[in-house]
């Protein structure tokens, strides 16, 4: 079968995930194209985090297919995702507070000189280059300890860490949830730049204002099903809200088990 000229980097086809009696995801399709920022929205318990974690290899999907560059792949372990170039920035960020920015960005992938001695200067230079390329200007020194950074700065470090490794897909779980207005704006700009650099970006957010500020496309989950997939410039907040709260479910039988 002939595939379209430019297959999505990541494509989910009919993926499902159950936790016991709870159907967290039911036959979801989702495409992530290079250079595109896709927002994933939905009410609490809609299945957003479940979808992210399955893509990241934390708990694999039960059914359905995951394709990367058009090829079917199995992601059963976080390392599988990392090897493909899928990076996830979790809401809790998981930075080591006592390490500085460079040390955090290179944690687990340090560069060496002879005799196993760390090449601090080369790591610092590249970390700075990444920050410059992403136009992260609010940081100041890359040698400050992460504990002293603001929420927005920490978010920037986590994002920069995720995109340093020739990653192709970056997934962000509520990156602006804990941020004030100015910092939210900075982080959203950063997210936008990831898309402009040709990465496929999946942004989970509850904040529709944020979503409309950066997303090219908006996918709506409701009770584990995708109920809408809209171009951001061809829809409205109202339409998205309707999909979130009352989007039509494909298969009523599948949703009897409501997580209440």
């Amino acid at each position: 079968m002939a595939v379209a000229a430019d297959p999505p980097i990541l494509a989910l086809r009919g993926v499902s995930k159950r936790f016991g009696a709870v159907r967290a995801l039911t036959r979801v399709d989702l495409d992530l194209q290079a250079g595109e920022v896709v927002a994933l929205v939905g009410d609490n318990g809609a299945g957003k985090s479940t979808l992210i974690k399955s893509v990241a290899g934390i708990h694999p999907f039960d059914e359905g297919e995951v394709r990367f560059d058009g090829e079917p792949v199995r992601i059963t372990h976080p390392k599988d995702a990392a090897d493909l170039g899928i990076e996830v920035v979790y809401q809790d960020l998981a930075l080591a507070d006592n390490l500085d920015v460079v040390q955090n960005m290179y944690l687990g992938r340090e560069r060496h000189k002879a005799l196993g001695v760390l090449d601090e200067e080369s790591m610092e230079r590249s970390a700075r280059e990444t920050m410059t390329a992403l136009a992260v200007t609010t940081l100041g020194s890359v040698r400050q300890v992460v504990a002293g950074l603001s929420g927005g700065q920490r978010q920037s470090v986590a994002v920069a860490k995720a995109v340093m490794w020739n990653s192709r897909v970056v997934i962000l779980d509520e990156p602006t949830a804990a941020l004030g207005v100015a910092q939210t704006h900075q982080v959203l700009q950063l997210v936008r730049r990831l898309g402009d650099r040709g990465l496929a970006v999946l942004l989970v957010s509850h904040n529709l204002h944020d979503v409309f500020e950066v997303a090219d496309r908006i996918a709506v989950l409701r009770l584990g099903q995708k109920v809408a997939d809209l171009r951001a410039d061809a829809t409205s907040q109202q339409e998205v809200v309707e999909a979130i709260t009352a989007g039509e479910l494909a298969d009523a039988a599948g949703t009897e088990v409501d997580a209440s």
Partner: protein
């Protein structure tokens, strides 16, 4: 990319280099000044007795075994753990070492070397056991090492029948025990080499970086691909092996096991590490600080003896310094959390 590298050349130094220069930071610098002040006071008051070559040598010999243990303890505490078993493991290792040397005939270098290897291997085995129980079985380090503290000492006494064993090959006592290179006792050379390696490994290698990361945020380390459990096992194994080495050093120095003489080694090592600015919460600390933390008690003790101050004051003073060190750490943490 290459253009960026080119423009970078105009930058004089990276911050890494600058950072390396101010290695004496905050609390470590303070405690180092305290040590210098102590040395200065004792040396000024009694230059003849305190600052003599012999006395300085004695201070270093007295501190050598504790320093070796404390280097290992630094790694453990930076990884946010604790090891109470070091003194017992030291004793157990020295017992195994002397048993092996006795079985081989108590003389000659090959026998001595076999004894050293056996002692270190015994320590390594206890360290591995500690590490596996802590990292894999997820039993708190305090409990695991409290258990192995009792078990190692008990087994040492079962093996020896509770009496100290003699019979260290003269080669070992004369070289490692009393020997010197360029006037420096071998015991001190060994401790210095261990310390130097410890400084380099903790500060400049991936192993050290992972130790800080695991102690700072194990979940972050795990997500970054660090094998956290395996790393913790290595850290405890290292400390066990160094305790074994300290056991051999103690054997060489006293030509005998010293079963009852290491009951507080664990607390002394922990005190030294903490006085040296390492945080009991993990993620912060240096081997250099630990060196200072080892020498403050031993200089105090030595100085008080020379000044004929009741030596019990040493313990009081060390207690005060210890509490002050932890208090400073707390203040720093609180200040940081307010940011």
């Amino acid at each position: 990319m290459s253009a960026a590298t080119g423009s970078d050349r105009t930058q004089p130094v990276t911050e890494s280099r600058a950072r390396r220069l101010r290695f004496l930071t905050d609390s470590t610098a303070l405690i180092f000044l305290v040590l210098l002040a102590l040395v200065a006071v004792f040396a000024l008051v009694r230059p003849d007795a305190f600052a003599s070559v012999n006395n300085v040598r004695n201070i270093f010999i007295g501190a050598a075994t504790l320093l070796v243990i404390a280097v290992g303890m630094t790694f453990v505490i930076v990884s946010a753990g604790i090891d109470l078993s070091v003194g017992s493991v030291l004793v157990f290792s020295s017992v195994i070492s002397i048993k092996v040397m006795t079985a081989l005939g108590n003389q000659g270098w090959p026998v001595a070397i076999a004894g050293v290897a056996a002692g270190m291997a015994a320590g390594l085995a206890w360290g591995l056991l500690n590490g596996v129980l802590i990292a894999k079985a997820r039993i708190p380090a305090l409990i695991v090492t409290l258990g192995t503290l009792g078990a190692a000492l008990g087994l040492a006494q079962i093996i020896t029948g509770g009496v100290n064993l003699r019979g260290v090959p003269v080669e070992l006592t004369e070289a490692l025990g009393f020997g010197r290179v360029a006037g420096i006792p071998w015991l001190v050379v060994v401790a210095a080499v261990v310390t130097a390696i410890g400084i380099v490994v903790l500060r400049f290698t991936r192993f050290g970086r992972y130790t800080y990361a695991v102690g700072s945020n194990p979940e972050a380390a795990r997500r970054a691909g660090v094998k956290v459990e395996r790393h913790l096992i290595k850290v405890y194994a290292l400390t066990g092996m160094l305790s074994g080495l300290a056991g051999v050093m103690s054997l060489a120095r006293f030509s005998s096991t010293n079963i009852g003489g290491h009951l507080t080694d664990n607390l002394q090592a922990i005190a030294a590490v903490v006085i040296g600015g390492t945080s009991l919460f993990g993620g912060i600390g240096t081997v250099f600080g630990t060196v200072v933390g080892v020498f403050i008690p031993s200089v105090l003790q030595n100085g008080f003896v020379i000044l004929r101050v009741q030596p019990f004051w040493q313990e009081v003073a060390v207690g005060v310094v210890l509490i002050a060190a932890v208090y400073i750490d707390q203040i720093k943490r609180r200040a940081r959390e307010r940011l």
